[in-house]
Structure formats: structure tokens, C-alpha cells
């Protein structure tokens, strides 16, 4: 599946969230409910309702299936197997991602590691390789890969940066005075790390772990390739046999329950302690620890990690490219797939940013229970896997929206829903930093309110909007499951074409598509990396 970096929790994890501390020049928001703009609110409610559609679909389908049938389809041995697979995958992969992510971040940010700037980027690089391309590389290397441990291998190598990036961002701006105080009170370096640093990483770790967990639940291609069955792969199998049959829908409802449980677990483990500093006094750069004897092992460990996560898949993509020769570059297949991927990426990014705007605006300028409940709905939606969104959209459009069925509108709408949080997080922080006084000053100087908004606030928000849009674009380029279900007739994207070829074990033929996806993803990953640094720096 895709790398949904800014799903729920990412805003907290990277610190780019609702910007609770008013910066200079911003005044506290108005009282709840005061002068709420009805049209904007109505639009936001409509978007929220729309975004709850997959959840509604699953509930409606469970009800429509009927109690006895539903129970029969949910409480069967196969579901037990899938549940066991999923739980084991979570229990092994999430802690491993935490260890690698936090460990890597600590080495890069807090030790005198040579080449740390380069390593900082290298550890984020696996995000540019879609998990199913990673799987493809590994299956080329070890054809017999199968089962739980293969699933663990691929998912840890693909997803540890989801922990690494927020952890590194947090580590780089921790107030060193806390650690210095702890050390002066007699704690050794390890104890300082455990008792002072680690607690401050809590939000980055829970947020990152949630993201990893949601990816584990939603991933299809990577696990299908190593013959590891999860709910998502099983729903896909049911889909291929029955379209939107009852058994598949019931698996989807179990999957949705798992996603919601994960959300609750994350909220619970976030804790209530405050980790923020009061005031923004001068802050020294955090100290760096000498590695001493451990320097060489640390370098080797990082090298090994990057070789496994980036080197192996890229080596095999290149190897298949060489083996395939010139005949795998069929322009009449490649060019349309590339163009359509770009087109969908841009259309989806634009639409998602536009749809996110009213919600971000309300969240920043009109904080109230109302906007908070809108955010909650968005939070729930962002945990829905692509397969569930795809099933919901295909069923709803076939039954109720025949005019839109199988058009690109439905696919773009699915992208909007899947990736709305990415645009939201970015837009929200952008809007929060655009002081409304500037807009008011423009109005006082005689500019009409709408123009003042466009010329001042919108312009100030543009970079943040562009950043969010880029992330949505990245996600769409690598999206597989929803795209497989919702593509208009004749539409091929890089991801679906790659999948079609690699499913027929035409690994050489799939290689150009893999390469193109990586090439498109690389600059976005870099952007994301930069953004997380900046967000942490403010």
C-alpha cells in the first residue's frame, strides 16, 4: 500500500499540529460558536459526513448481512488464522520499528556519529520505496520468502522511517538543560536516556507506532507477494472471487474494528504528562555523545539497515532492468501509465488540498467542540485502509450514483478521503502561522474582505498547502488497492501496471514501473524529510 505518513498522530508526532501556543501577533480565538460562518460549517460537515462513508458502509453491510450469517462469517477458523497472523505481525513489527526508528534517530541526532547528515537522510530514504516494490526486490533475492517472518522483514524495512522521522525531529529540538540537570543529579548516560529522553519521545513513538500499525493493517501488495495472509489480502481474495460479497464485507468489518482499536490504544498510551517548555527562552543545541568504541559497530549497523531496506530492493530493480534489456521499455504501455499516474496524482492532490481547506480553516480560526468533532471524524477516517474505502466506494457508486460509477471522479474522491489528513496537517499549521491581523490591516486599508483573504492569508498559506499537496501526490503515486477497485475502464497507473506484471511473475517487465515509482517518490520523500526538520525547528 501507500506510505501514509501523516495519518492520525503524525501532527502530534512531528509537532506540526494545531499549534496550540499562539505565536506573537496571534490573539486567542473567539469564543466557541461565535460568528461561526454557516456556509463554511455546512461544507465542513458535509465533508466530515462524506469522510465517514467507509465506516457507515461497513456498519450498513454488517446489518444487511443479518445476524446469523454475519456471525457465521466472522467467527470462523479462517478469521482466527488471519487474526493470529495480524496480531503476531503487530507484536513483532511495531517494537522492531520503534527500536530501529528511535535508535537510528538517536545515533543521528545525539551522538558524534561521523557523516550524521548523510545518515539522517539515508534513514528516511526507505520511504521512497513503496512496500510492494521492497517485497518484489526481496522475493527476487530469496524466492522462497513466505509467511510471518517475511511479512515482518518487509514491513519493518519499509516502515521504520515512520518512527524514525518524528523521533529524529523531536530529538533534534529537545531542551538539553533537562538532561544536563539529570546528569548533574547523578544519572549515568543510559539512565538519562531512559528516564529523561525517552519520556519526551513518547508522542513521537506512539504516533509513529500507530502509523506503522495502520500500515500493517492496510498493506496488500507487499504481503500478497510473500504469501503472508492478513485481513487486507483475504478481503482482496474474496473481492476477486465475489466482487463485494458478504464474506469479504464481514472481513472488512473486522479489519475496521482492529483499526479503531489501534486508535484507542494510541490515545491511551499517549499519556497525560506535558512535555512542552513554557516560554521560548534561548535554547542550546542538544549535546552529542561520543561513541568511542561503539563508533564502528554503529556505522556498520546503519549501513546494514540501509543496505537491507534500500540496497536490496534497488539492486534487484536495476538487475531486472538490465536483464530485461530494451524490450521491457514499451512506450505504448509505459507512457500512458506514467501520464495517468501524474494526472491522478495532481488532480487528487489539488482536490484534497481544496477539500481540506474549510476544515483546516475552521480548526484554526474557530476552535470549538464543533470543530473538534469534525477532527475526530477525520481521525477515524484516516485509519480506514484503502481496501475498505475501495469496497465502500464501488458499492455506493454502483447502487446510488450510476452517473459517477467507474469515472475518475470516484477514484479522486477516494484519494481525497484516504489522504485528507496529509493535506490537513500541513494546511492547519500553515494557517495557524498566518496572523489574521495582517488580513485585517489589508481590510482597514480598503481592500475588500475576500481579496484581503486571498492576497494575504492565502498567499501566506501557499507553501504549507503545497507541502501537503506534495505528500498527497506521493501517496497517490504508490496507491494500489483502492486504485485496483476504482479505476475507470482502461485506466492503468504505474502501481496497477507494476502489480499486473509482477503477479504474472514477469519481474523484468515490472521493473521500469518500479523504477518510475521510486523516481517520483524520491523528491517527495526528501521534501517530507525537510519539512519534519523545519516543523521541529520552529
Amino acid at each position: 500500500m501507500t506510505t501514509n505518513l501523516t495519518a492520525p498522530g503524525a501532527d502530534r508526532a512531528t509537532g506540526t499540529g494545531t499549534a496550540p501556543t499562539p505565536g506573537p501577533g496571534t490573539r486567542p480565538g473567539p469564543a466557541p460558536g461565535r460568528r461561526r460562518p454557516p456556509v463554511l460549517a455546512v461544507i465542513a460537515v458535509l465533508i466530515a459526513l462524506f469522510s465517514l462513508m467507509p465506516l457507515g458502509y461497513v456498519i450498513a453491510m454488517t446489518v444487511a448481512t443479518g445476524w446469523d450469517t454475519a456471525v457465521g462469517l466472522i467467527f470462523r477458523a479462517r478469521v482466527g488464522e488471519l487474526l493470529l497472523n495480524t496480531i503476531l505481525l503487530m507484536l513483532v513489527s511495531v517494537p522492531l520499528c520503534l527500536v530501529l526508528g528511535v535508535g537510528g534517530a538517536w545515533l543521528v541526532e545525539r551522538t558524534r556519529l561521523r557523516g550524521n547528515k548523510l545518515w539522517a537522510l539515508a534513514l528516511a530514504a526507505p520511504l521512497a520505496i513503496p512496500a510492494f516494490v521492497n517485497s518484489y526486490g526481496w522475493v527476487s533475492a530469496v524466492p522462497s520468502l513466505a509467511g510471518l517472518w517475511s511479512g515482518v522483514l518487509i514491513s519493518v524495512l519499509s516502515y521504520f522511517p515512520l518512527v524514525y522521522i518524528p523521533a529524529a525531529a523531536t530529538l533534534s529540538r529537545l531542551d538539553p538543560s533537562l538532561e544536563e540537570s539529570a546528569a548533574s543529579l547523578g544519572l549515568g548516560p543510559w539512565q538519562v536516556f531512559r528516564r529523561v529522553v525517552l519520556p519526551q519521545l513518547r508522542l513521537a513513538m506512539t504516533g509513529g507506532a500507530l502509523l506503522v500499525g495502520l500500515h500493517l493493517l492496510a498493506e496488500y501488495g507487499a504481503f500478497a507477494m510473500v504469501r503472508f495472509d492478513t485481513f487486507t489480502t483475504a478481503i482482496m481474495v474474496q473481492y476477486q472471487s465475489t466482487f463485494n460479497g458478504a464474506a469479504g464485507n464481514m472481513l472488512a468489518s473486522v479489519l475496521v474494528v482492529l483499526c479503531l482499536l489501534l486508535l484507542v490504544a494510541e490515545v491511551r498510551s499517549r499519556g497525560t504528562a506535558r512535555y512542552s517548555r513554557i516560554g521560548s527562552g534561548g535554547q542550546a543545541a542538544p549535546g552529542r555523545m561520543p561513541l568511542g568504541r561503539l563508533h564502528v559497530p554503529a556505522q556498520l549497523a546503519l549501513l546494514l539497515l540501509v543496505v537491507l531496506a534500500v540496497g536490496v530492493p534497488m539492486w534487484f530493480v536495476l538487475r531486472w532492468l538490465v536483464l530485461g534489456g530494451s524490450e521491457i521499455w514499451a512506450p505504448d504501455e509505459l507512457v500512458p501509465a506514467l501520464l495517468q499516474t501524474l494526472l491522478y496524482g495532481m488532480a487528487g492532490a489539488a482536490a484534497t488540498t481544496l477539500v481540506a481547506f474549510p476544515m483546516a480553516f475552521l480548526a484554526v480560526r474557530r476552535t470549538s467542540w464543533f470543530t473538534r468533532s469534525l477532527e475526530l471524524s477525520n481521525y477515524v477516517t484516516s485509519s480506514m485502509p484503502g481496501i475498505v474505502v475501495g469496497l465502500a466506494f464501488v458499492t455506493v457508486s454502483i447502487r446510488f450514483l450510476p452517473a459517477l460509477y467507474q469515472t475518475s471522479v470516484v477514484l479522486v474522491a477516494a484519494y481525497v478521503l484516504l489522504f485528507l489528513p496529509r493535506a490537513l496537517v500541513s494546511l492547519r499549521s500553515g494557517l495557524a502561522q498566518a496572523p489574521r491581523e495582517l488580513e485585517e490591516a489589508a481590510q482597514a486599508l480598503g481592500v475588500r474582505p475576500f481579496l484581503a483573504f486571498v492576497r494575504v492569508t492565502l498567499r501566506l498559506t501557499a507553501p504549507a498547502a503545497a507541502g501537503g499537496a506534495a505528500l498527497v501526490f506521493l501517496a497517490i503515486v504508490n496507491e494500489l488497492t483502492a486504485t485496483l477497485l476504482l479505476s475507470p475502464n482502461g485506466t492503468r497507473t504505474l502501481a496497477t501496471e507494476f502489480w499486473a506484471k509482477s503477479s504474472e511473475i514477469d519481474y523484468a517487465g515490472a521493473a521500469p514501473y518500479a523504477l518510475l515509482m521510486v523516481v517520483l517518490s524520491a523528491p517527495m520523500t526528501y521534501l517530507l524529510f525537510q519539512q519534519s526538520k523545519k516543523a521541529a525547528g520552529q
Binding site: V39, L40, Y239, A347, L354, S408, V409, P488
Partner: protein, 353 residues
Amino acid sequence: MVSRPHTSVGVAVAVAAASALVLAACGSGASADSGSSAGNGSSGSGSITVYNAQHESLTQEWVDAFTKQTGIKVTVRNGSDTELSNQIVQEGEASPADVFLTENSPAMTQVENAGLFADVDKATLDQVPAGFRPSTGKWTGIAARSTVLVYDKRKVQENQLPASMLDLAKPEWKGRWAASPSGADFQAIVSALLELKGEAATNEWLTAMKTNAKVYKGNSTAMKAVNSGEVETALIYHYYFYGDQAKTGENSVNVGTHYFKNQDPGAFVSVSGGGVLTSSKNAAAAQSLLRFITGKAGQEVLQKGTSFEYAIASDVPANPALVPLKDLQAPTVDPAKLNSATVTDLMTKAGLL
């Protein structure tokens, strides 16, 4: 300050209008770009939409040759047999599909039973021998494929292989055979078993399979696993072997083929089907595609191309590399009687799906 609400209203309207515009624009843009008949109602003449569950490369070969000959543009939606048949049934009269092509017949039967197939032109039916199409004339066979047990020649001798597919349920075959139960191919084999031996026997065999078989995704992957020594045998269709042999042989160099013959359920020959939907808005073009596929040119694609599926119509012989169809001693199964829904239910119950 007084005018602030207006600001927001204005912004909201602008945003809503802009997003509507973008969505509409990308809607038309993308479908225009895909060069399709936009799914809903082709623009009159010259284009049809095919729901294709056959191998993409084979259908592409047919479609390219057809378009070259007739000028009719064809948009292909790819999927698997029963995914697309269920989709067509749900779409009903609104289906954007004009033609439906499958790998196996159960999906055809499902669409036929839903009353969504138009009669196939007599000229087309006349090209196809009666044994390869249902008597109702609602669809026609377009190609055929045979069940085969491929085995690792380094590990197993031909005489150690089971005499019947049913033997694979025996304890001694535990962990020694592979299959791709999620695929339409395998499900068609099960539907033949169901038709030949009844529900109880099928259920028993599937339950045993859950313990005995190693599950792969796709026949080619299963054969590759045999070739690499991961598993001794795999129950697949014949053409995966011949296709790989004709290419590099890298996934079949250690593989032998074992045909069950003897009218065994495992000797089942599956008919790939094609039909024209009643909802087709360009029925003439749709019918001409079926006529083309079952005609000499279409069948020669099977005979001479890289698909290695059996040609069945217009007296075009099979690819000479294949075991002739008549030597396969396939059981007699009426393709119209193969049931996909019961098979999916039984396989779901057995925990294979």
C-alpha cells in the same frame, strides 16, 4: 470586522466552486485521456468496452488485431472471472461492458443465469463445435485449458504421482502439493469436481486440501515454487508450463507435467467463454469481436502465439507443442452446469478463502 462572515462565505463559495470545477475537470480529463468510452454509453459507433478476465496479454493480442481489422476501438477492464461476473450482475442493465471474456465457464454461467447475456450471433456459434459452448447459445467458448499436476522431476518419479486428483486429499500428500485457491482457474476445477462427485465429496476434498496444500497466489507462482524445490507438485493449468518453456524456461526447467486423464476430475478441461451483454449499446461491434475471436484469425493467435491455450474453433489446430485435446481423456462436463457461487461458499467454509 463586520464584514468578516462575508469573507468566509465568499471563501467557502470560491473553494466549493473551485473544487467542483477541479473534480469535474479531472473527471473528464482523465477519462478522455484513458481514451475509453467513458464507461457510460459509448459515443455511438466505433468503440466497445470489454470486461476481461483472460490473460491480459492474450486479450490485448486479440483486441489489437481486431482494432486493426475493423477500426473499432476497444477499452479493456481487467479483473478475475467471478469478480467481474459479480460486478456485471450488480451493474445489471447499466453495465458499461459490451463483451465479457473469461478464463473459465462458471462466471459465464452466472451472468447467463442473471439474464444479462444477449444471444450470440449464429455465425459465431457455427464456428465453435457444440462441445465447447452451451446449448442455450447465450455465450460461446473461445479457448480451452487443461488441468495438470506439475512436479519437480528431481524429487518425484512419474510413477510415484497420484492416479487421481482425489488422492491429493490423502494424508501421504500432506504438504506435498501447491495450488492457487484464490484463482478462478482452481475454482473452476473445484466446480468440475462438484459437478462430477457432488457436494459432500467436494467438501471433504476441500477440507483435506486445507491441511494438505501449500497455498500460492497465482498458478505461475505455484509452478515457480515447484521449480525451485519449495514444494513437490502443484495443481495448475497446462499453459503456464508451456509458456515458460517457450520463453526462458527459468521457472520450469525442473518441472514435469502429469495429466490425470481417465475422465478423472483432475483431467478437467475448462472452457474459456465470451459473451455479449444485453446492456451493450454497440451490440453489432460487440458481436463482431466474438466472431473475430472464434474465427480463424482469432484462433490462430492461440495456435501460434505465446498463450499456449488450446484453440477450439474454426478448425484451427492446437499449438503443436501441446498434448492434443483428444488425448487428454477429459471428463464430460456441461459447462453450463458449473456453479461458481456454491464453490466460493464451500471454499470459504473450508477456510481456503
